[in-house]
């Protein structure tokens, strides 16, 4: 079990920021789901609270594991990951036009969420193993292939948003591992040059979602309308907000996904600029603490995992909040610790658990 001496280096601040964000999230969720289920107004809040507790439990378990074990398990994890993602395409459960879930009776398991943290771990190992010969451009290829396969499987579901998270993680971790600037820029350039090919592979609705923030008139009945309503909600919140449970936009249910993808617009309306600032500050400190742990980690493996987790969180925050504020395309990525949904919550807890474990074991234990 957990050695007491390890607690000396436990990052209580990271834990605190995470808990504060979760509690803040529960409050906003309780407002966003008001009246959705008329016979049990706290239905979603209760479920989310249960997931939070389960997540916290799993996090404790992860903390107690020495993160170096993940290094040794890396290839098994990678295989299991590919297996799960492959399974979704065959026995996946359909929802909103995509196959993303596996029905486990107790809950719907979403392998693409878990895939994010697994890819972070396995890519970290790969970077550690081949980290020294990274000067030539071709040295990037193994890393690229490594991320490409899980990303492709996620893209096929189709889940464009999560596939993009993989790209963010890839660039974030490779940069931190010391891959030359030049090589990453070339890679990004090639990627951009190839993106028209990707564009042709997209479904019409995906294209529409990507473009609608530039011009809401493209889809005035669905996403265009949602984005307009979202901006009205956030903008009308003003400096101090209308007060929790007081948002007229939220109460009228103008936003179909206001407890999941659009929860930030409820927060913006009811808690105002100050409330949003508070949340973003909490997120900033959360990410800062992750980087801090990364920079103090005793090995490169731990440092790279921290980078991956931080990149993942940052990217999701940017894309989700940006979408609500109409400066980013609609991709349907959840906001960490805030959006309703068990899978995303669990993966966030697992990620933070690993980071905390890295932080605790940054020095050799002194007897």
């Amino acid at each position: 079990m957990l050695d007491r001496r390890l607690l000396k280096n436990f990052d209580y601040q990271l834990l605190l920021f995470m808990l504060l964000i979760s509690i803040y999230g529960l409050l906003v969720l309780s407002s966003a789901t008001q009246g959705i289920s008329s016979n049990d107004p706290l239905f979603y809040v209760r479920k989310q609270a249960v997931w939070l507790s389960i997540g916290a439990g799993i996090m404790m378990l992860i903390i107690s594991i020495n993160y170096l074990h993940f290094y040794h398990w890396s290839w098994y994890l990678y295989a299991v990951n590919i297996l799960f993602l492959g399974m979704v395409l065959f026995i996946g459960k359909e929802g909103l036009g995509a196959y993303r879930w596996i029905d486990l009776k107790v809950f719907d398991f979403q392998p693409s969420e878990l895939a994010k943290v697994i890819v972070i771990i396995t890519l970290a190992r790969l970077l550690v193993d081949f980290g020294e010969k990274t000067e030539s451009f071709t040295a990037v290829l193994p890393f690229l292939l490594h991320v490409f396969f899980p990303m492709l499987l996620v893209f096929l579901q189709p889940d464009l948003g999560t596939a993009l998270v993989f790209i963010a993680i890839f660039f974030g971790m490779l940069y931190m591992a010391g891959i030359p600037w030049k090589n990453l820029l070339i890679l990004a350039g090639v990627g951009l040059a190839l993106s028209p090919l990707l564009w042709m592979r997209l479904h019409d609705y995906q294209k529409l979602r990507l473009l609608v923030f530039l011009n809401p008139e493209l889809d005035p009945l669905r996403y265009g309308y949602q984005l307009k309503q979202s901006m009205i909600a956030v903008g009308s919140g003003g400096l101090a907000g209308k007060g929790l449970y007081q948002g007229s936009q939220a109460r009228l249910q103008f936003l179909p996904a206001q407890h999941t993808d659009f929860i930030f617009s409820v927060l913006g309306e009811e808690c105002g600029f100050l409330g949003a600032l508070l949340l973003l500050l909490l997120y900033f400190f959360l990410i800062y603490r992750i980087f801090r742990i990364g920079s103090l980690a005793k090995d490169k493996f731990g440092a790279l995992i921290c980078t991956g987790v931080a990149t993942m969180m940052l990217f999701q925050i940017l894309v989700n909040v940006g979408m609500v504020l109409s400066i980013m395309p609609v991709t349907g990525l959840p906001l960490p610790f805030l959006s309703y949904g068990g899978n995303s919550l669990l993966v966030n807890f697992i990620s933070i658990g690993i980071v905390l474990s890295i932080g605790m074991r940054r020095h050799k234990i002194q007897f």
Partner: protein, 601 residues
């Protein structure tokens, strides 16, 4: 951590700060600098979506006759203005629309998720209701009249079981799954095809709804600037159905059944018939009675459900029956192909046969004397076929029955619900009764009795296979589908599902037997004066129920012209036995008269 990494961590943190600054700047822009604008818009947020229902695709017969269209109808809807609905409004609407107040409240409750959409309370209301609401517009904030297309079945119950009907009921899972394969997502609570073509082709017929993004005023009326997305109408479907033929067939079925009822046959009431093109499998006519009027289906449903003649069942595919002597060509062909008898081989009929302790007889114990297979078909001699059955054995007999498509669906997928029927066999008996097969039963099976049970569609397909020499085409109803711009989306191609390996000479022998049936000396001699040569077979299937022996089912199968068949048909009259002779024959005659445009005498 090495120096390079520390440097990069620093840079990374600058990026993080940049992201947060961008988000905060955007927040400030919306919440601080444009607060007044958004505040005002939220205060009287009257931005709503008014969906425009896409006109559903129309359905036409082969000759372009309109069968199903749309007509405009008025729908009463509620638009949520953010302050709920007054008790008076709900009470008034309940009274006017003849709904329960609780029902309206429940509908409002169920729309909670999508309050920005109007809630449709009642569709197709009368002009009177519309004008009453228009008069009280100011006292009824949020009440809206929308114009929506209503499904119109032009000829009432004509072709009803093929066309199907619309409803808002629950869609069975298998149908939803079937649609999903075409990428069609069905929305709960929307009107949706519930049977026939309407159900099976829902994804094509539905079209894509459009809508208006509008500002509504304080009474819920759309005002000001709005954006519009035009609906895309559904695809039109052209059926293989020959409308004049179908019409004559339905009329003939009705006349026959009424005739039987008038003659005192209290069991009569149901009948079915299918006409196929044996050269491709196209269904030219497919009728069964009684059916329903799809226009008033939901109103009539309680009565329809109780009707003992089962108007809800499509008796051409969803029900199977013993088919009696129309089965005998299976036995004849099997015997010829297996060498159990030659074309000239004879069997002597004394009217009665006793084998395996079972005594069986010919119809009315007629002694036919010595006859060959051609004559046996012509006279429908039971004794001959009993003998053939015994020579073949049940397993070979069952094999040939299956070759003709009995015992499994014949492949009609343009409407759902085809039943597989039963082939009398060792396996079936042991599965259902856990009993061995007795040779005496083979004799019954050889003349179409025993467990044999066949749908009218299977029977017509079998007749078509005799006509075309053993080719099993997939029967189909949809000739082509055309989208709203007139571009073809789908055109039917004949599809061969199976080809029987039987010598051409044996088909000729069987056809020769059938060609003698409608001639003097045959069981269908009443067709002797028909100007085109026809191959046919009569059938009578005895039915025993709790009351004892009740009127037999009457059947008739035919194809014509004999030399180059263009149509194959099967007619089934349930409990149609009558002293005047085979009651299905005049129906078949009527079909052929209309098809070949022969003036009635």
């Amino acid at each position: 951590m090495d120096k390079k990494m520390l440097k990069r961590t620093k840079f990374f943190l600058y990026m993080v700060i940049l992201v947060f600054v961008v988000l905060l700047a955007r927040l400030a822009y919306l919440q601080i600098f444009h607060f007044d604008y958004y505040w005002a818009r939220a205060e009287k947020n009257r931005l709503r979506i008014l969906p425009i229902t896409a006109p559903r695709g129309e359905i036409f017969a082969r000759g372009g006759e309109q069968l199903v269209t749309n007509r405009p109808g008025f729908t009463v809807s509620l638009v949520d203005l953010g302050q709920g609905y007054s008790k008076e409004t709900i009470a008034y609407l309940a009274l006017l629309l003849e709904m329960e107040e609780g029902e309206i409240r429940q509908k409002i409750e169920s729309q909670f998720y999508r309050r920005y959409l109007p809630l449709r309370l009642k569709t197709d209301v009368s002009m009177e209701v519309v004008s009453k609401i228009a008069e009280k517009r100011l006292e009824l904030p949020g009440v809206l009249i929308e114009v929506q297309p209503i499904r119109n079945y032009v000829n009432g119950d004509f072709l009803a079981h093929v066309l199907g009907y619309m409803g808002e009921g629950v869609v069975p899972d298998w149908a939803a799954e079937h649609w999903e394969k075409t990428g069609y997502e069905y929305e709960q609570g929307e009107p949706v095809g519930q049977a026939g073509i309407e159900l099976a082709w829902e994804p094509y017929l539905k079209g894509e709804d459009g809508g208006l993004q509008v500002e509504v005023n304080s009474t819920g009326q759309a005002i000001g600037e709005f954006e519009r997305v035009e609906p895309r109408p559904g695809c039109d479907i052209y059926l293989t159905i020959d409308a004049p033929l179908q019409s004559a067939l339905e009329e003939a079925l009705h006349e026959t059944v009424e005739d039987l009822l008038a003659a005192g046959n209290r069991h009569a009431g149901e009948a079915a018939a299918v006409v196929l093109d044996p050269r491709c499998g196209a269904i030219l006519a497919m009728a069964d009675i009684p059916a329903y009027d799809p226009n008033t289906f939901s109103l009539d449903f309680p009565d329809l459900e109780k009707d003992p003649r089962r108007p809800l069942v499509n008796k051409t595919i969803e029900d199977h029956y013993p088919v009696g002597s129309t089965f005998k060509m299976v036995t004849a062909l099997a015997a010829l192909q297996e060498g159990a008898v030659t074309k000239t081989g004879r069997v002597s009929c004394g009217g009665v046969i006793t084998r395996y302790n079972a005594t069986k007889s010919c119809y009315r114990r007629t002694a036919h004397g010595s006859l060959n297979v051609v004559q046996a078909i012509q006279k429908s001699c039971n004794i001959f076929f009993y003998e053939m059955g015994l020579r073949l054995g049940i397993d070979t007999l069952a094999h040939y029955a299956r070759e003709f498509g009995f015992g499994s669906p014949v492949g009609l997928t343009d409407i759902f619900g085809e039943k597989k029927g039963i082939v009398a066999s060792r396996e079936y008996k042991s599965k259902i009764y856990q009993e061995p097969w007795y040779p005496a039963e083979t004799m019954d099976a050889a003349i179409g009795q025993s467990f044999n049970s066949i749908t009218p569609l299977q029977l017509s397909n079998y007749t078509a296979m005799i006509a075309n020499g053993g080719i099993h085409y997939r029967p189909y109803l949809v000739e082509k589908i055309v989208d709203s711009d007139g571009n073809p989306v789908l055109t039917a191609e004949p599809e061969i599902l199976h080809r029987m390996e039987v010598d051409e000479a044996h088909w000729d022998t069987v056809r020769e037997g059938m060609s003698l049936v409608p001639l003097p000396g045959g069981t269908g001699a009443r067709l002797a004066d028909f100007p085109i040569r026809v191959a046919a077979k009569t059938g009578t299937a005895q039915v025993v129920d709790r009351e004892g022996i009740i009127p037999s089912h009457i059947l008739f199968v035919a194809f014509a012209p004999l030399e180059e068949p263009e149509i194959a048909l099967a007619v089934f009259v349930k409990y149609g036995e009558d002293r005047r002779g085979n009651m299905a024959l005049p129906i078949a005659r009527r079909i052929m008269e209309v098809y070949f445009q022969i003036p009635t005498e």
